[in-house]
Structures are given as structure tokens and as C-alpha cells.
């Protein structure tokens, strides 16, 4: 019963956030230079197009009514028309989604399969006197390497010297998987550095917190081996913050992908949005931002779902004095 009502609250909260995000995005849209019509249609729209828009979004109506119409359109997948291509933004986004998605998935996989073991290892090996310093420095360096620096350097090295991989030359995975992976591995690697390091750091913290729990001491006292204790008692108990981080990172990767796609010239959503900002193609920016925020909110709910499955105690946090 408690669980059920907790879930309903969580879902309502996520929905509220999503509405809040859409209001923010809508307000931003209206605040932009050129106004609403230009933002949606671009500056070169015909009179007829403008009339049609005014009718469709009720530009003479109250702001609330306009928001409602805009929201309905957005929910129906209508994000307006790109100023540059004069194509509907939604079509362009959906054709570019696979590239960004693939990048994010590759980076997340790296975070899970490299970052998590690294974090567990450095935590279990950590000592009071600071023996884990090397691992800590490495992961500290990793989170300090921004994509635009690391990416620039990688692009430079691989385009100047023959290092076996080339920059650019994106091919859809369905057309030629090998060529696709060759083109994607460098950008994904650049994107992964932060994800791996952040995951390793969070995992390390989480495992260190679990290591001092009485049930771990109890397991040691029963004569269990470290491998046994890690497998049966530590991994699951340390998983919750790592799951939350990885979902957060997935959303962050959508942001990082913007820079990586821009650098490696990949036809993903990120490079599309950056170009759009440069050309003041605002309808595209709006759609991209809304999409990223929506993905993040959905991922957050997924993370909560997973955490609920991992830890049967649903988190009750301290909320100040109730006097």
C-alpha cells in the first residue's frame, strides 16, 4: 500500500516536472528575439504561413491558451519547422536520434563495464593511509577532462598521424556495421572518459559506505571471502547511487554528445542543435532542449524504479523540523 502510493506520488512528481520544463521552454520560446511566429516559422515565412500559425496557436488568445495549444502540438510531435531546411523539426530529430543514441549507449556501456569494476576495486583496496590515491587521482583526472579539450586533441592526433582510425565518415549501423563502429569508436571513447571516471568515483564512494555497514563486518566474522562478500552483500547494496548516477550521466551524455558530434562531424541531434543555435534556428533548439529534458525526467523515474527494486526499503529522507 505504501509502495503503491509512493509510486503514484513519484509519477505525479515527474509529470509536474515535465509540465514545468515545458512551461520554461515555452516562455523561453516567447522571450526569444523575433517573437513566437518567427521562432516557429523562421524569418522568411510567407504571410499565409504566418496567418495559419496565428490561427493554429491562437496568437490573439491568452498566454495560457497559447501554451495549451503549443503543448498539444508538441505532444503530438509538432515542434514547428526548421528555418534552415524548412522541414518539420520532428522529422529531422527522429532521423538523427539513432546517432546520438548509439553514442550514448556505447558510453554508458563503457561506464558500466569499466567504471563499476574500477570503482569496486579501488574501494576494496582503499586503506586508511591513502593507498587508493593512484586510482583516485586517475578518476579525478578523468572527470577533469572536458570533451571539448580531449575531443580536440583526439581529432588532431588522429587526423594528423595515421593511427589506424579516421575521424569522420559516419555510416549508419544498418548499412555497414564495421564501418559504423570504426567511425563511432573515437567519439564514443572521448565521451566515455568522463562517464567512466564519474562512475568509478561514485562506485568507490558507494562501496566504501557499504564496507563500514555492520552486515559486512558480520559477513567477515562468518569467515566469508572478499569475493563472496562483494558478490553477495556489497554489489547490490552499493548499486542504488551508481544506478542514479548512470541515469544522470546518460542525460549528461546527451549534452556531451553535442560537443562530440560537433567535433567529429557526426549527423546527430547535438550537432544539429549547435548549428541551429548559431543560425538562430530556434524551433530546433526548443525541440532539442525539450527532448533532452524529457529523456532525463523519464530516466530519473526509471532510476527510481530500479532503486526500488534493488533496495526494498524505499527511501524516506529527512525533511527538516515539522513543528
Amino acid at each position: 500500500m505504501r509502495l503503491f502510493s509512493w509510486w503514484i506520488r513519484r509519477a505525479l512528481g515527474a509529470a509536474a516536472t515535465l509540465v514545468g520544463v515545458s512551461i520554461l521552454v515555452f516562455l523561453a520560446l516567447r522571450a526569444m528575439p523575433g517573437g513566437f511566429a518567427e521562432t516557429i516559422l523562421g524569418p522568411f515565412a510567407s504571410e499565409e504561413q504566418q496567418r495559419e500559425l496565428a490561427q493554429r496557436y491562437g496568437l490573439d488568445d491568452s498566454a495560457l491558451a497559447q501554451y495549451w495549444l503549443w503543448l498539444q502540438a508538441a505532444l503530438g510531435g509538432d515542434f514547428g519547422t526548421s528555418m534552415i531546411s524548412q522541414e518539420p523539426v520532428a522529422d529531422e530529430l527522429s532521423s538523427r536520434l539513432p546517432v546520438t543514441g548509439q553514442l550514448a549507449v556505447m558510453a554508458v556501456l563503457a561506464a558500466v563495464f569499466i567504471g563499476v569494476p574500477l570503482g569496486v576495486l579501488t574501494a576494496v583496496r582503499a586503506r586508511a593511509d591513502g593507498g587508493g590515491t593512484v586510482g583516485r587521482l586517475l578518476s579525478g583526472l578523468g572527470v577533469s577532462l572536458p570533451e571539448f579539450v580531449l575531443g580536440s586533441i583526439v581529432v588532431f592526433l588522429f587526423s594528423r598521424y595515421a593511427l589506424g582510425l579516421s575521424v569522420g565518415g559516419y555510416v549508419p549501423f544498418g548499412d555497414d556495421p564495421a564501418a559504423n563502429l570504426r567511425a563511432m569508436i573515437l567519439p564514443a571513447a572521448v565521451l566515455s572518459v568522463f562517464a567512466i571516471s564519474a562512475t568509478a568515483r561514485t562506485t568507490r564512494d558507494a562501496v566504501l559506505n557499504v564496507l563500514v555497514e555492520p552486515y559486512v563486518t558480520a559477513a567477515v566474522a562468518r569467515g566469508e571471502s572478499p569475493a563472496f562478500i562483494i558478490r553477495h552483500h556489497i554489489l547490490r547494496n552499493a548499486a542504488a547511487p551508481v544506478v542514479v548516477l548512470i541515469t544522470t550521466i546518460t542525460a549528461y551524455l546527451l549534452g556531451g554528445a553535442i560537443i562530440v558530434e560537433y567535433l567529429f562531424n557526426l549527423p546527430g541531434i547535438g550537432s544539429y542543435v549547435v548549428q541551429a543555435v548559431g543560425r538562430r534556428d530556434y524551433a530546433v533548439v526548443q525541440a532539442g532542449v525539450l527532448l533532452a529534458a524529457a529523456v532525463f525526467i523519464v530516466l530519473n523515474v526509471v532510476a527510481d524504479l530500479l532503486v526500488g527494486l534493488i533496495d526494498p526499503r524505499l527511501g524516506v529522507t529527512a525533511t527538516g523540523r515539522q513543528t
Partner: protein
């Protein structure tokens, strides 16, 4: 029969960034197979460190700096990692203070018990082990997560897990301190009954002199990292031979008769940074003489007790230490007749 546990002049230090704290300052103790021993001490007396040291479960910043400790002839601090693990697995058992915390929150009780049975446990086995600790409806308990249990139930589960391997010595570190007084007795009965059935010895660490005296055959009182008095429970309680034991018994409010004023021990327990130069209790002791502050006392025999006090023999003779009401008989909870005072 050889003693199962022999602690000889054991000293353990904790290394903090800015200082070194001595937790054990030369502990002597022996526990015979199957013997029930209560270690009584206040916080900082070193009893928990001693309990952890038995299983070499000390925190990383602790190290033994002197003395030896052997379990059935095997030197604990000299064992290989594998040897130590085997010792813990096959011969030692532990119960801790925080019952719910010592169970894995993400695993059902049955699954945890099964792990402790090392995969040999079928569902009926699990139920049988839960039944032995007098848990009602064992099947339902097996399906529960630890946070769904009360403290008393969780501690029973922890006992079932610890006793599953029938250890030769069960170390119980304040196993009832976090429980309501109502369930304490029941939980202790379970521990002592199971241990008696399995022939396990018990090392029960507690701050409650009277409670320990009711259950254990022997009581060792710790102060300042040493065992200052060690003897049969009834004797130690009724006729303490060390001034600290006497003071401790006199300061428990539960023992005070109506209108009687408590006799607190002045000052506070010491924090040692190295070996104590004399008796650690000297500056709180109303019998202290100059010698007490500068010379470490050696064990002396007073009646049935081994005592670390320069003036023990003299005090025993003069009757300066109060005689306390005799403890109620051991093992059974004592029915209190209406209208009579409790101790």
C-alpha cells in the same frame, strides 16, 4: 582440557591522524571450552576491541603491539588470511549490537540464512533454524526483509545465523543493548540455550554488571584496557574485590533502594595514549595511595577472584568494599514477588 581462548598481556593501539590511542593495555584472560564469560566495562574500557580481536576483526587503523592471543592453540595474530577465515568459519561465532544493521537490507531473511548455511540449507532447514531461535511463523519470517522485523526478531535471526555453524565460542558484543527491556531476557535465553545445546562457550560483552552476573558463570571486569577483576559471577557481584567493580555496582540506579543516594564514581574513564604508568583507575579511586599512580598492579588472588589492585588484599581484609546484595540465581528470569524490592 586446554583452554579454548588464551589472551596473554595483549595490547592494541588505534592510530588516529593526530594521535595514538591505546585500547587494550595488557589483557589477560582465558576461556575454557563451553564456559560462559561476561566481560563488563564502560565505553572506552576496551571490551569491544577485545571482542573484535578474538576474530581479528579490528578496524584497519588498529594493531596489536604486544602480547599474544590464541584460539585453541592457534595464534590469532600469526595466522594466514586463509587460516583466519577458516577459524572464523568453523570455530567462532559473532553477534553484534545493531540487530537490523547486521543483516543485509537487500536480501530476504531466508536467503541470508541459506548463505550462512553455505548452500546446504533447504527451505525446511532454514525454517528449522528459525524455529530454534523461537521465531513464530518461521516461513513468514524467512520471506521478510530485515527492515520488516522488530529489533528482537532481527537479533534472533542474527543468532540463528551465528549459531548455524555451531561455533565453539560465541562472541556477543552488547547483543541486547539496542533492544527493549521486555525482549532482552527472551533473546538472552535463546542465546544461552542454543549455546548450551551446542556446547559453545560464550564471551558476552556488556556494560551491565548485574545482567551479566545473572547469566554467566564467570565475570571479567575491564577498565582502562585491562581486566581488573576476574572471578565467579556470584562472587564478583556480591563481594567485589576491586574498587572499580565496587564503585560500578554502587552507581547503578537500578540497585538503589528507595531514598538511598547513589554513590557515583568521581571523574571519568581514562583515554590512554600509551601504556598506563600505574593503575588506570587510580585518579578516581577513593582508596588510591601514591604507589597506585606510578606502579602497574600485578594480578593478585583475593578469595576466588584475580584482581589488579595493589591494595586488594588489604581492602578485602578490612571489609572496606561494600557487600552487595547477592545476585539472583543464574539462567532463569527471576519472578519478583509483589511487595518485595528488586535488586
Amino acid at each position: 582440557m586446554n583452554p579454548f581462548l588464551v589472551v596473554d598481556n595483549l595490547a592494541v593501539d588505534y592510530e588516529a591522524p593526530d594521535r595514538r590511542v591505546r585500547a587494550l593495555d595488557g589483557v589477560d584472560l582465558t576461556v575454557e571450552p563451553g564456559e560462559t564469560v561476561g566481560i563488563v566495562g564502560e565505553s572506552g574500557s576496551g571490551k569491544s576491541t577485545l571482542g573484535s580481536a578474538v576474530g581479528r576483526l579490528l578496524p584497519q587503523n588498529a594493531q596489536s603491539v604486544a602480547g599474544t592471543m590464541s584460539v585453541d592453540g592457534e595464534e590469532v595474530f600469526g595466522l594466514s588470511i586463509g587460516g583466519m577465515r577458516r577459524l572464523r568459519r568453523e570455530r567462532l561465532g559473532f553477534i553484534f549490537q545493531d540487530p537490523i544493521g547486521s543483516l543485509d537490507p537487500t536480501k530476504r531473511v531466508g536467503a541470508q540464512l541459506k548463505l550462512a548455511l553455505r548452500g546446504r540449507g533447504s527451505a525446511p532447514d532454514v525454517a528449522r533454524h528459525l524455529e530454534r531461535v523461537k521465531l513464530p511463523d518461521p516461513r513468514r519470517v524467512a520471506r521478510a526483509y530485515p527492515h520488516q522485523l522488530s529489533g528482537g526478531m532481527a537479533q534472533r535471526v542474527a543468532i540463528a545465523i551465528a549459531m548455524a555453524s555451531e561455533p565453539e565460542l560465541l562472541v556477543a558484543d552488547e547483543p541486547t543493548a539496542a533492544l527493549d527491556s521486555q525482549v532482552r531476557d527472551d533473546v538472552l535465553s535463546v542465546v544461552f540455550t542454543l549455546a548450551a545445546e551446542a556446547g559453545s562457550g560464550i564471551l558476552w560483552l556488556s556494560h551491565d554488571l548485574a545482567a551479566v552476573g545473572r547469566r554467566c558463570a564467570r565475570v571479567a571486569v575491564m577498565y582502562g584496557g585491562r581486566v581488573v577483576e576476574d572471578g565467579p559471577a556470584a562472587e564478583v557481584l556480591a563481594r567485589p574485590a576491586h574498587p572499580y567493580t565496587d564503585a560500578l555496582a554502587g552507581s547503578a540506579p537500578a540497585a538503589a533502594a528507595p531514598g538511598e543516594r547513589l554513590q557515583p564514581v568521581p571523574g571519568r574513564p581514562p583515554v590512554l595514549t600509551g601504556p598506563s604508568p600505574g593503575c588506570a583507575f587510580a585518579d578516581r579511586c577513593r582508596f588510591a595511595v601514591q604507589r597506585c599512580a606510578v606502579e602497574r598492579p600485578r594480578p593478585v588472588r583475593v578469595r576466588t577472584q584475580d584482581v589488579l589492585c595493589h591494595r586488594a588484599a588489604e581492602l578485602a581484609e578490612s571489609g572496606a568494599l561494600a557487600a552487595h546484595a547477592p545476585p539472583p540465581s543464574r539462567m532463569a528470569p527471576v519472578p519478583v514477588p509483589v511487595g518485595e524490592e528488586t535488586t
